[in-house]
Symmetry: C3
Subunit: 150 residues, 3 copies
């Protein structure tokens, strides 16, 4: 039975983390600020190029900002790809790509293609994001490096 | 054993639904009209902005239409993202993004970025789509709303 | 117990293959040539339109080529979609889309949208790619055909 339990748990962990990561795009494009922030630990970090958000309040503020609300009002898709998840006990790492696609003058354009690196932790409320690091794939060397860090 | 059965069943249900959703893009870009329609229940609904298809025959007709066949002939990718699936007994809801990318004058352009909302049902033939609602993310307010309805 | 074993094994196989496929994009954009090649069998084939790579050495050479290194240096995302995986014993087939998005003159453009067909085999080292066939979705008839071959 122990073997079944461990194998089942591994699949459940990977599925829970993939679901959490897949939730980000729909929630942020819906403007669901509290639900976006709740993907992170209370003091979780979301580090996006020049902007670093520390803790859920700063993530809520980003979603509610005029800047982000402007993207939603104009038409916006944060399209997050399938992650490669590696679970080690109560910690996990995941890497994937994301695209930010915006409606601009009646046409959709790819505004950003981004390397995503997720550090996750399992706590009392299940899996949450400890640190998410995003770097735009515009040639800066830290972005490719992020994709092989797993 | 009951616990294992329920946990395994949950993972199987989520995997079956993710597979069904991932099947749509390849099948519709291959022009496999009957196989696309078979993802839906016999009287399933596919509601895409101005066009509402009721039942499999209307879905077959869409795939076989000169319009859709023209996309395939010119070069087209219906790229559907990883869904967030929530199963409740024999019913399920899933949300995700999709992109329609077309080859136009020798260049690929994003023609649509779309919010997808799927209602699914498990019947005698397994999981099928009851209602799929797609709304383009061009700033119309119903599109973001669809992404948080789960 | 046999039934649980078979059901669990099916989920594990599908998860392992999805993970392998999701690994390609991050690794190739990171320039991790050896790790990319190790996704294939020793004599595996990667067939991309005009370029056919036979065996791992030719895959390593592609990643290390000035051409590919130029994409990385300029900014590049090989964005691979969620695959539809079908396992039959120690063999499997998967189909999905992929996008190649590049930073060009300070803007991101979709350089290719591609039909992907994967043949996989389980050997001593687990699942690996036997043959991956990619065809650009620019209207050539073999590309849509690839997406329904499963």
């Amino acid at each position: 039975m122990t073997d079944f339990e461990a194998r089942l748990r591994k699949l459940e962990d990977e599925a829970a983390i993939a679901r959490l990561i897949a939730s980000y795009g729909p929630l942020v494009d819906a403007g669901s600020a509290e639900a976006v922030a709740a993907l992170w630990e209370t003091d979780g970090v979301y580090d996006v190029d020049e902007l670093v958000m520390n803790g859920r309040d700063e993530i809520v503020a980003m979603v509610q900002s005029p800047n982000h609300q402007g993207w939603i009002a104009g038409g916006c898709a944060h399209f997050v790809g399938p992650p490669v998840v590696t679970v080690t006990g109560d910690d996990a790492v995941a890497v994937c790509h994301s695209l930010m696609i915006v409606n601009q003058d009646g046409q959709f354009v790819v505004r950003r293609a981004t390397a995503n690196h997720w550090q996750l932790h399992r706590g009392e409320d299940g899996w949450q994001v400890a640190v998410r690091t995003n770097r735009v794939l515009d040639g800066r060397p830290e972005s490719p490096a992020l994709l092989s860090d797993r």
